[in-house]
Symmetry: C2
Subunit: 136 residues, 2 copies
DNA sequence: CCGTATCCGAAAGGATACTG
DNA sequence: CAGTATCCTTTCGGATACGG
């Protein structure tokens, strides 16, 4: 998550900073409904290491996509939520999910292979079904 | 462009294969209006090396996103065009460009820095203006 | 509970030279 | 013109251990 700052004048490169990473859309998608704690987020995205999650959250926070609220209690409690800018990304992600899902099914048919959804981001996929129904 | 095959069951990861790369959206965007030759594509995307362009085109071709037509002439001529599946990606890319552009301008205002659009993918940005007008 | 610090391997992307 | 082949650098993401 170091230098995604290149080619700053291009809207595509700019957007890729936020959605191009392996876990970025997954994280944002989890946060779409409201605040989540660090470990909740971690548990929702299996295979995602703490380090990478921290890096991503820090990056999002610096960029104003996500805001962080710390409760100085014992045990500590930290909540992350989307900012308004972050919320704007959700419809974009929905579009991407929509395409990805449609062409996933296509490949399934084309190659006649078994459809074995990865456990990872499985919830994302389930949530997508809702989106699809809503969109018609 | 080697192993983008992981997490095959997730629609997001699936879509990222095609739009997550540094130049992928740029290439697809260039092809949105019709067939282009290898060098035309190359010239349209400065800073993109031949190797990377070749890799991307080969990947897209294998995945059925782009089709390739070779004219056995001297000098050689090869044309690349989007397949129907590839065309489906254009609206998705438009959404992404739209978000990227909006938040690029936002940052510009927030940070009060000079807006110096990168030459890279400059045309993409210009074309975006058309898209924006059309979309309202 | 919520991270940080350190180290590591894989892989994406780039530079350059060469070929049918 | 349209690529290949080779080498090299960067950086992304993962494992593990430790700290406030």
């Amino acid at each position: 998550m170091a230098s995604k700052e290149t080619l700053a004048g291009c809207p595509v490169q700019h957007a890729l900073q936020y959605i191009g990473g392996k876990w970025q859309m997954g994280i944002l998608w989890q946060l779409r409904k409201g605040a989540l704690r660090f470990n909740t987020l971690k548990d929702a995205l299996p295979n995602l290491s703490e380090k990478v999650l921290t890096e991503n959250l820090k990056f999002f926070e610096e960029k104003g996509i996500v805001s962080k609220q710390s409760f100085l209690s014992v045990p500590p409690k930290v909540e992350y939520r989307l900012t308004a800018d972050g919320q704007d990304l959700i419809p974009v992600i929905e579009k991407i999910i929509h395409w990805g899902y449609a062409h996933l099914q296509e490949e399934k048919v084309k190659k006649d292979t078994l459809f074995t959804p990865s456990v990872v981001m499985n919830e994302l996929q389930q949530e997508y079904n809702t989106v699809e129904k809503a969109a018609g």
